[in-house]
Symmetry: C2
Subunit: 638 residues, 2 copies
Amino acid sequence: MPIKIACGQLEVIAGRPDLNTKSILQVISAAKSDAVDLLLLPELAVPGYMIGDLWEQTAFLKDCESYGKQIVEASSGITVVFGNIAVDWKRSNTDGHVRKYSAAFTAQDGKLLPTAQGLGFVAKNSLPVYRQFEDSRYFSSQESLLKDKRISLKNGMGTVAVTIHGTEYQLGIMLCEDGWTENYPLSVPVMLKRGGAEILCNLSSSPFTLGKNHKRHLIFGKQAKELHLPLIYCNHIGIQNTGKNIFTFDGQSCVYGSDGMVKAAAPMFTEKLLTFSWDKETDKIRAYSAEDELVATEDDETAVIYKTVRYGTDNFLKQTGIRRMVLGASGGIDSAVTAALFTDILGPQQVLLVNMPSRYNSELTKNLAQQLAENLKCCYTIVPINDSVAHTVEQLYTPIHNYTSNRDFKVELNGLMYENIQARDRGSRILGGFSAAFRGGVSCNANKAEITVGYGTFYGDLIGLFCPLGDLWKFQVYALGKYFNDQIFKAEVIPEKIFSIRPSAELSSEQTVGNGGDPLIYEYHDYLFRAFVERWEKVAPEDILKHYMDHDLEKFLGCKEEIITHLFPSHAAFCQDLERWYSLFTGLAVAKRIQAPPILSLSKRAFGNDYREAQMTTYFSLAYKEMKEKLLRQERLF
Amino acid sequence: MPIKIACGQLEVIAGRPDLNTKSILQVISAAKSDAVDLLLLPELAVPGYMIGDLWEQTAFLKDCESYGKQIVEASSGITVVFGNIAVDWKRSNTDGHVRKYSAAFTAQDGKLLPTAQGLGFVAKNSLPVYRQFEDSRYFSSQESLLKDKRISLKNGMGTVAVTIHGTEYQLGIMLCEDGWTENYPLSVPVMLKRGGAEILCNLSSSPFTLGKNHKRHLIFGKQAKELHLPLIYCNHIGIQNTGKNIFTFDGQSCVYGSDGMVKAAAPMFTEKLLTFSWDKETDKIRAYSAEDELVATEDDETAVIYKTVRYGTDNFLKQTGIRRMVLGASGGIDSAVTAALFTDILGPQQVLLVNMPSRYNSELTKNLAQQLAENLKCCYTIVPINDSVAHTVEQLYTPIHNYTSNRDFKVELNGLMYENIQARDRGSRILGGFSAAFRGGVSCNANKAEITVGYGTFYGDLIGLFCPLGDLWKFQVYALGKYFNDQIFKAEVIPEKIFSIRPSAELSSEQTVGNGGDPLIYEYHDYLFRAFVERWEKVAPEDILKHYMDHDLEKFLGCKEEIITHLFPSHAAFCQDLERWYSLFTGLAVAKRIQAPPILSLSKRAFGNDYREAQMTTYFSLAYKEMKEKLLRQERLF
């Protein structure tokens, strides 16, 4: 006889066991009404996952235990497997804090079921400490737990026998990373199979990353097929953050048959009780609803980016209680796409675009900013900064008294200082002021290329509540802008001209739309910087130079063919450009990132807690220096 | 016959194997001239320790290997034990990155000596992942290395036999955390003794923490005594950072005799070749210089704070290439102490104090700011902000066009907005401008109590290159101020009145020096916040309320007796205050800290990477709510 299984793909709120338990109890109640036999709930569904060092607070841990008991009590007439923190109050971790596990508890008819290993829960075994993950800072592993209790691994890892309608089922339980077996010496799914598991249940708290869903289908599908076991993946939705990064949790819970194929799947970013039947005898899994059978074909990258940025932004604003936004509107692409995003989420009347011209701004960009506001139908105002900047400059020329020499002196201002005065005047003075007065947040419109090299002004354009496009390269920002026009607004809401003008900060007479523009050549630098930041094995200048000398750098970086020859008249010019940006990336840009607003994470490496860095002085490797010397010597010979 | 041993207490620069190797080769050369037989050098002396995800860059790792070879080659006629990264290029960590160890290499006469376990190095075994430490993000342990190589722990952990003047010595080698055995299941020193070690060598890269030197003497002294082995502790000096935190490395290398007593010690923050003789036969250790025999008696806390803040600040400025500083001078204690600090380090003419009065600033504080500048003999100017603030307010009243309704409207400003406009005007507009024009950095003068609850304005007083007093409670700032007058300047350089006036931000007519002042009552809140932040087991409102009900809260917090009864007329008032600050601490203050400047770390818990936190909504525990309800019900009954 088949049993009815459900994944409770709910929203989990970090640090709110009270609210999460309320949601969980509602899902249990709904599952009972729906005659579900076995309900899975995500990893750490009670406390949430990204709660920082709140894991060190006893009062919080005790409450998570209390709420866990409420969930167990609610399991009359149903079997529930749920994620919560498990605390061993008598032991400590190697840092002296109380021993904790990210655990899966199994409850049935108001009671906790023991595992086949004789314990009260199954602990997560693989504890990731890469990217933003720091599980081993807080949690101990299932392996160490079994070792402590002197239980041999020969008895399996974490199996629970549950009896449903008179038949016994061996659930092989694991948590999130346990299923990502690529680099771990011990394969948890294999151990579960050896321990007699008849179905694999992976409770996850897995944040969205571009391309991850595809990779998971490959790895998890293969796992199910090779072990010839069905595999349930139960993930939650919502947003959580690590301070510097905001992560979306995409859900996408699903069940793989023992043939490795997805049999039922829940959508991205949607609360869902995903139900399906499993017949152990015939090894058949069937979705109850035809729509759940459709595996969401991965949309194109821009569509996925749109969905994720929209969901993450909307939910972060909801969490912070902010429903209005203020943006500087320059007439450029970054602010245009950000304005489109907030208008899409909040409605046009909740979005204030402020154009703040100085004498360097062109009529073209001023008109484009206004046109954008008109097209979006949002709120718009123009606040010129000429008078204020002049007043600031005048005040900075106030005589300074030197009490050692007892003489007065004055500072001198140069062009770059003047540029930054303008940027801070716009950011901190005007947008900061409107933020409070309009009762909204300020958006930081920086893209990932700018953030990589610190192309932006401290307390100027780098201010804001958060940075929604901070994990997108410039080419992705353009693509997202096109997507808004083509797919969302289905009209030229972002004026076409904004896509075609050369980006410029318009901060001096040398740097205007007509004359010069930004020093970043995105067609090349987007891809160069991506190699520095996003490759799993970090790319250094020596790797770049090697590929340059081998004439396959464009291919290596994935950028347009021949662009490098086109851009650099000489090897010396190539090296100078490379060193300039690498020095900024590893130098001043680090200081700027330390004080930058949180970034919404999309890629497999976003700046912030996902990318640990220190303020250091720039280092060029021995091989780089050697290759460069050789190259330039050659050049001088000809 | 005794042999001559030395600890090379040098400065290590994070991420600069080129510069570090140069220093190491100089130390080796000096040690040879001094007829040293055995030279110890610190953990990760080649690459540095806090280098973030630069550990993932192949080019950097390869260079560390190259420089390591240079050091081995330089060991003719001497034995050198040094810390470097060891890479196993054929294996990967659980995250797929190449396998790495924080390793100690032993070189003699130009060759690498194998360990008794047959390996080329000893790896650090205990990999801390608490506070700012994230060793297991990057490194694998000695235990896992031995396991991989199928070497039984019965053969010891990491012993190296070296022959000096015809006698064989068994060096028991460990790295930093390996010696801090309190909470680890496996004691490395005990294992080393079992493996035949005759002397313990701890190579460290150990950042300064208040009280840590005392604790190390206790733990390491006990270790030497219990194992009846001499123990050498070799640490380096310098500063390194994790982005949000700047750490000082205090050196304080020393040697413990097998009686547990310190026989020779190097001073804090000073480069030193600490030499001593060891006679294995007689078990005698003797310093060569009488001055090294003196164990630096731990100065009083304020003296240690002064030394550390001065060293950390000076070195951070040197690293960033900044030799001038700009400070807002309000006439209050925080800016006065910061001004004294920078004057002490840079000289008075390199420090610019800017007083930026609005109509709310008293003559008293304006005069105090000027008096301070005069006493310090530094540069001083007055830039009033009234006109600019009026201009900003006027500009914020610019009509805004709503393109949905096609109507204009204006925002409204309230008192708090007006306060923040002033703060941003001072910070971003004036100090930001002077920073560039004076070619200096801006100092953020916030103290730890303010940072705990976010009492400061985004892009206003929270801007800066870094925050030198950000890990000091207000009472520590006062003590440091007194120390400057009494011990450094030996004169009333910081005017006495600055110590006695009530702190006030002077941002409105309600909040001035004469009238109201800051909402923080430091005599109580300093201690309350310290309990939230610095206790190893985090204190929650329920713990505070419990102690309040038990009438021992002052004792629990360590603040003045009876202050709580004095401050709060009712239980309701007590709870209201507690909830107000706990909500800010866990709420808006988190957002502010994410964008705050780096903090110089002193305590065992500084805000930043040392204290992981997420933006969440505030949670009060079940027990708190229950106790509070009971308490307030009682109050209402009377």
